[in-house]
Symmetry: C2
Subunit: 300 residues, 2 copies
């Protein structure tokens, strides 16, 4: 498999595979349902839409009928969410997607010890993929949303999730940059010991077939022209597949700045549940939600 | 004065003013000297170049002779640096600029209690200005370089330096965004108490005539299209003059991502010494160093 380099490539790749079964929790918001219907019409998913059936149908009505859209009539948003989660838990579906429900409600349902889809101890985090005109391939990064200030253990899991993602996108030997403001490992930086230990782990093969280096800044990790100036000898230089940020503020600033200033496109998923969870914010576009669904399909 | 909206505007604005006197510490690197000579030829500065005169002249030789370039022959880089600092200390010059000398060497000279140019207690920090095709005016921000994880007192000084800068650029009532990953002030975020107190200070007029709001993300602070989606009612929305980042990683990721992905231009200065200090990294372009000199001139 050639690496997938754009969201267009990604959708094209998925059309050739089997449809993934996806449960949508309270599918009564327009952008989410539009994104789902597009994924259905492109042959990518088979959708189970929980929620008040009348409200759901009011949105799906403008799309052609499809045998791959199923309505699961549960009027109450919380119950609709629990139903979607249970469909993933019992194996009917491979992917969970958030509809019109607050993030804390769906997370509580995912994490419920009796009825949820989370194995105790597994780290919940968020990994995203990004493309932009200025970069020659996809960038995978974490965590811009869930863990404000990762512990070493959480940092290691973020890296493992990102590696798994890059590999699912066809990157055979992911190049990983540990991001910091400079390439000099300052002694007073709170996460620098983690970086040192993580580099040691990578050397010992604990992340599999990857190349991991750092600390380095965004220029060294992602900028061909400016990365070259410092003559730093690492295969990751200006060619990273994965960038790992010190905390969620830096990761969040990264993709929002790339989007606002550089026309980047982004998709992301919640990791650490037993199956991929599409958990986008209400303000995301249909396009972004569609890309998230595709990302979930390649990982399901 | 109309606000200065680009580095072109800035240079044009300075041509009409008096030349600023600038001491360059060990002026033996090409990019720095080229930037200085450009500022001389555009009528912006009068330069005092310390360092081994032969080496300095080897670089200046390709430029026309100018009565506004002075050679201060001191062969040793550290002594040349001390000489440049002393010229600022005794009032001969208004601006200090780093040439071919390590940052720690020039900082030690600046901070020297007997011979330096730093008033004890003053917070050293770095404030930068940025323009990009995607944004309609200059953005001032801090601190991408000097203070890894600001205390509340340091955060307040970063804001004050940024306000002073925006005002020097002609922004009458700067709009200030306190950046966080979301607009929700999470309780476990280490700097959130600072943000709450700083907002209170702004309300009480302690920063003068400014509008300060937050926490908000980069979309809310700087993105017209995506900022509008969330219907948040603040004059800062999508129109910030100043963005204050939680720490230097987020600030550093901001300008490097805007540069790499969005063709941004950046200039910055060291604040907290008695006079502006141009302190760029060796890898910065002549263009960037020239913009930094201009930024120093408008603040001198």
């Amino acid at each position: 498999m050639e690496p997938i380099k754009s969201f267009q490539d990604l959708a094209a790749h998925l059309k050739n595979g089997p449809r993934r079964k996806m449960a949508v929790a309270n599918a009564t918001d327009e952008h989410s349902v539009e994104a789902v219907m597009r994924a259905v019409s492109e042959g990518i998913v088979e959708a189970y839409l929980t929620g008040d059936e009348q409200k759901v149908r009011a949105i799906t009505a403008k799309f052609p009928e499809s045998p791959y859209v199923h309505y699961v009539n549960v009027a109450d948003p919380k119950e609709a969410t629990d139903k979607a989660v249970s469909m993933v838990r019992n194996g009917e579906c491979d992917i969970l997607m958030k509809g019109l429900v607050n993030t804390d409600v769906i997370l509580r349902s995912v994490l419920n010890k009796e009825t949820g889809i989370h194995t105790p101890g597994n780290v919940l985090s968020y990994i995203a993929s990004l493309t932009a005109p200025a970069y020659h391939k996809m960038v995978f990064f974490g965590d811009p949303a869930v863990i404000p200030d990762p512990t070493k253990e959480q940092r290691i899991m973020i890296i493992k999730y990102a590696i798994k993602t890059a590999q699912a996108f066809g990157v055979k030997q992911p190049k990983i940059a540990l991001v910091h403001a400079t390439e000099v490992p300052g002694p007073k930086i709170r996460y620098m010991n983690d970086y040192v230990e993580i580099k040691e782990m990578a050397k010992n093969g604990e992340f599999g077939d990857v190349i991991l280096d750092g600390p380095m800044d965004i220029f060294l990790a992602l900028d061909k022209e400016r990365g070259a100036i410092k003559h730093i000898d690492t295969p990751v230089l200006s060619d990273s597949d994965i960038v790992i940020f010190p905390d969620f503020d830096a990761a969040n600033v990264f993709y929002k700045t790339a989007t606002t200033f550089g026309n980047a496109q982004m998709a992301g998923l919640l990791y650490g549940a037993d199956k991929p969870v599409v958990l986008t914010s209400r303000s995301e576009s249909t396009e972004c939600k569609f890309n998230c669904i595709c990302m979930a399909c390649v990982l399901a």
